[in-house]
């Protein structure tokens, strides 16, 4: 007879609420989305009425020129913003990691952009980028330069949305990098000064390597976010001109609402999810490999 020891069940009972919430809030929608991606589903139908089409949605997507375009725009956007934000954010943190009077005030001001609703950010930048009355072109004109077609030229539009995203999200990296910097062992930095490291050498040999674990997680978080960004671009360019700023999430939203193809939208979402999943897992595997390699080298060296 199988008897269950109640003591052994205790941990599972404590885990149960979290597991149930996870199941409903996370796994159910994902399962739903995966299922929907195999359907030819119109918003006017209930899900049960939709036709099963198997992998057709995916097959179509891979051949769809504009989807591929949108995919590359997303990749370009995400990597550009994360790279630039990391450089600027970490740079600012290194610059401001000192006891300046009013530093806490300054820090609050720095993180303000992060707190503004994305729609508002989008509107704000759209007005600033306005070809005639926007502050950028006004300023350029007053200095005697040609105005720039910020949002109306397909070469400039991607750059423009990248600039706006950097403005909004660099503070996120800044505060995390600053927190990481301020928790570094002070004495190791002092030892580096005694060992003869210049300011730059301290940054590259000591500070950044020690901040690396935090920076990797930060970059990953930003990358995931950048792949999903929607509102700011929706308001600023709505994907245009042409497809020049139509990133994936925007295309997904339009496929669902304008083209009324929920199945295709679900398939796109799944591909995006897969991409992010691969990125995250890839990062962890890379870390693991690095650790193992270091351990192996060490072992070999010690045996020798």
């Amino acid at each position: 007879m199988l008897r269950i020891n109640p003591n052994r069940m205790t941990p599972y009972m404590f885990l149960a609420p979290a597991a149930i919430i996870m199941a409903f809030a996370l796994l159910y929608p994902i399962g739903y989305m995966v299922y929907a991606s195999f359907l030819d589903w119109n918003p006017s139908q209930r899900i049960g009425e939709a036709d099963w089409v198997g992998l057709r949605n995916y097959a179509n997507l891979l051949q769809d020129e504009s989807f591929r375009e949108s995919f590359f725009v997303t990749i370009k956007f995400a990597f550009a913003v994360v790279t630039l934000e990391m450089i600027i954010g970490v740079g600012l943190a290194l610059l401001l990691d000192r006891n300046i009077r009013g530093m806490s005030m300054l820090r609050t001001i720095f993180i303000l952009p992060m707190m503004i609703a994305p729609i508002v950010v989008g509107l704000m930048w759209r007005y600033m980028y306005h070809p005639t009355v926007g502050i950028f072109n006004q300023t350029l004109k007053s200095w005697g330069f040609e105005p720039i077609p910020w949002l109306s030229d397909s070469n400039w539009s991607l750059i423009s949305i990248i600039i706006a995203d950097i403005w909004q999200w660099t503070p996120f990296i800044f505060i995390l990098a600053l927190a990481a910097l301020q928790s570094l062992p002070r004495s190791a930095l002092e030892a580096a000064r005694i060992d003869g490291a210049t300011g730059w050498q301290q940054i590259f040999y000591i500070k950044i390597p020690l901040m690396m674990p935090v920076l990797i997680v930060t970059a990953l978080l930003r990358l995931i976010d950048a792949f999903k960004v929607l509102e700011v671009i929706l308001v600023m360019t709505n994907g245009g001109p042409g497809l020049s700023t139509e990133i994936m999430s925007l295309r997904i939203a339009r496929t669902a609402s304008e083209f009324r193809e929920l199945g295709v939208a679900a398939a796109m979402s799944n591909l995006l999810l897969l991409l992010l999943f691969v990125l995250t897992v890839g990062m962890f595997i890379y870390n693991k490999i690095q650790e193992n390699r270091a351990a192996r080298i060490r072992k070999v060296a010690e045996e020798a």
Partner: protein, 393 residues
């Protein structure tokens, strides 16, 4: 490689010679004399170190010792260039260096928490300074291996600091300083994070290093035992002021004031309040429960005193068991409260009226508590301090 093997063989014959030879080979010749000239330090309004002068002779092992917060670490950090001076100058052989960055001062430092770089392995930790100086790689490798061999950490070179024990990390920190080949070594309480046994071992090794290396060494500690065993010269500090400097023997035998007398020596000196009277030509110090004869040489000093109230200082080791009944003028009667049996000696915590008195005795067998015993003290073993200022008389 063969060369190293030879060394290993030599080492197995006589490890001491091998170590000393190797350490000597690290030594440079240009060792400066260090001078603090009117140096002070304040943090905002708060002055932690009033202006002071100090001279450290070249090649000397100087120990800055004092209780926590006395300013010894700040002094060392100013010498290292990690803290700015509020006023004054630090000079190396008459050359002003207090405006220089730490890296331009030709110093190496060992930190209390070792301050190893956690992301580098031991070899990288030790070679970091040389790498920054752009020393050729083969030479770096040779130096690191040489020092690692001396310190017995050559098998740890590929490990990360996180994988080492406290004692091993301590050695690495020392190794990192030794590889530098600087003229001045600074130690900031390097042994305080080690357990007692390891601390004693490392202390001996440091003492050995002191004897063989012709370098300036400045060592900060709160442990007077380290100060006494290591220092050529000890600087005792308290409340930001230098109380006294001198050789261990000077400090022990003729402390300048009550603080130094109480700080140097273990177990620490007993202080008893007393009043001086003259009885039939003898100088007698009378206190609660005792009267002790003083050295007649002190008469001239005592005559200059405005008040005859003084504090007597007697080292625990200066008490001798006496057969008397405690009424004599060189005797003191003490009641044992606790006896700390240490093997060869016992430290007795005794009471004389309301004051605790420590007594160190040779103990053939443990001494029970509550026992009343009579001790004699030689007049020349009694020190006298001004009751108010604590200055030695």
């Amino acid at each position: 490689m063969t060369c190293q093997k030879n060394h290993k063989q030599v080492a197995s014959v006589n490890p001491m010679y091998y170590v000393i030879d190797n350490i000597k080979s690290l030594g440079g010749d240009n060792v400066p004399e260090i001078r603090f000239d009117g140096v002070s330090k304040s943090y905002g309004e708060i002055e932690v170190l009033p202006a002071f002068d100090m001279k450290l002779n070249d090649g000397e092992f100087t120990v800055l010792v004092g209780p926590s917060g006395c300013g010894k670490s700040t002094t060392l950090r100013m010498l290292a260039g990690l803290e700015d001076l509020s006023s004054g100058q630090i000079l190396f052989d008459e050359k002003k260096i207090s405006h220089l960055e730490p890296k331009d001062r030709d110093i190496a430092m060992v930190f209390q928490d070792y301050a190893l770089y956690p992301h580098m392995n031991i070899a990288q930790n030790m070679s970091f300074a040389l790498k920054l100086q752009k020393v050729p790689k083969p030479e770096i490798k040779k130096k690191v291996e040489n020092v690692a061999e001396i310190l017995g950490i050559h098998n740890l070179l590929t490990r990360k600091p996180g994988e080492l024990s406290g004692g091993q990390r301590q050695r690495v920190a020392m190794g990192r300083a030794m590889v530098r080949d600087s003229s001045t070594f600074l130690f900031d309480e390097p042994l305080s994070n080690l357990d007692a046994k390891l601390r004693a071992k490392m202390r001996t090794e440091l003492a050995e290093m002191r004897n063989t290396l012709n370098k300036n060494m400045v060592y900060v500690t709160h442990d007077q035992v380290e100060a006494m065993t290591l220092g050529d010269r000890i600087v005792v500090m308290a409340n930001g002021l230098i109380q006294q400097q001198g050789s261990p023997e000077e400090l022990f035998k003729s402390p300048a004031n009550k603080f130094v007398a109480g700080f140097i020596g273990s177990p620490s000196m007993n202080f008893l309040d007393a009043f001086i009277v003259e009885e039939s030509g003898d100088l007698i110090a009378k206190g609660e429960g005792f009267s002790l004869k003083l050295n007649p040489d002190m008469a001239s000093i005592i005559n200059t005193l405005s008040s005859k109230d003084v504090t007597l200082g007697i080292r625990p080791s200066c008490f001798e068991l006496s057969q008397g009944n405690g009424d004599g003028v060189d005797e003191i009667k003490l009641t044992t409260v606790v006896s700390e049996y240490l093997g060869a000696q016992s430290v007795l915590v005794t009471r004389c009226c309301k004051q605790d008195v420590l007594v160190e005795v040779q103990s053939a067998s443990p001494i029970p508590g509550g026992q009343e015993m009579t001790f004699s003290v030689k007049p020349e073993d009694i020190m006298m301090f001004d009751k108010k200022s604590g200055v030695r008389l």
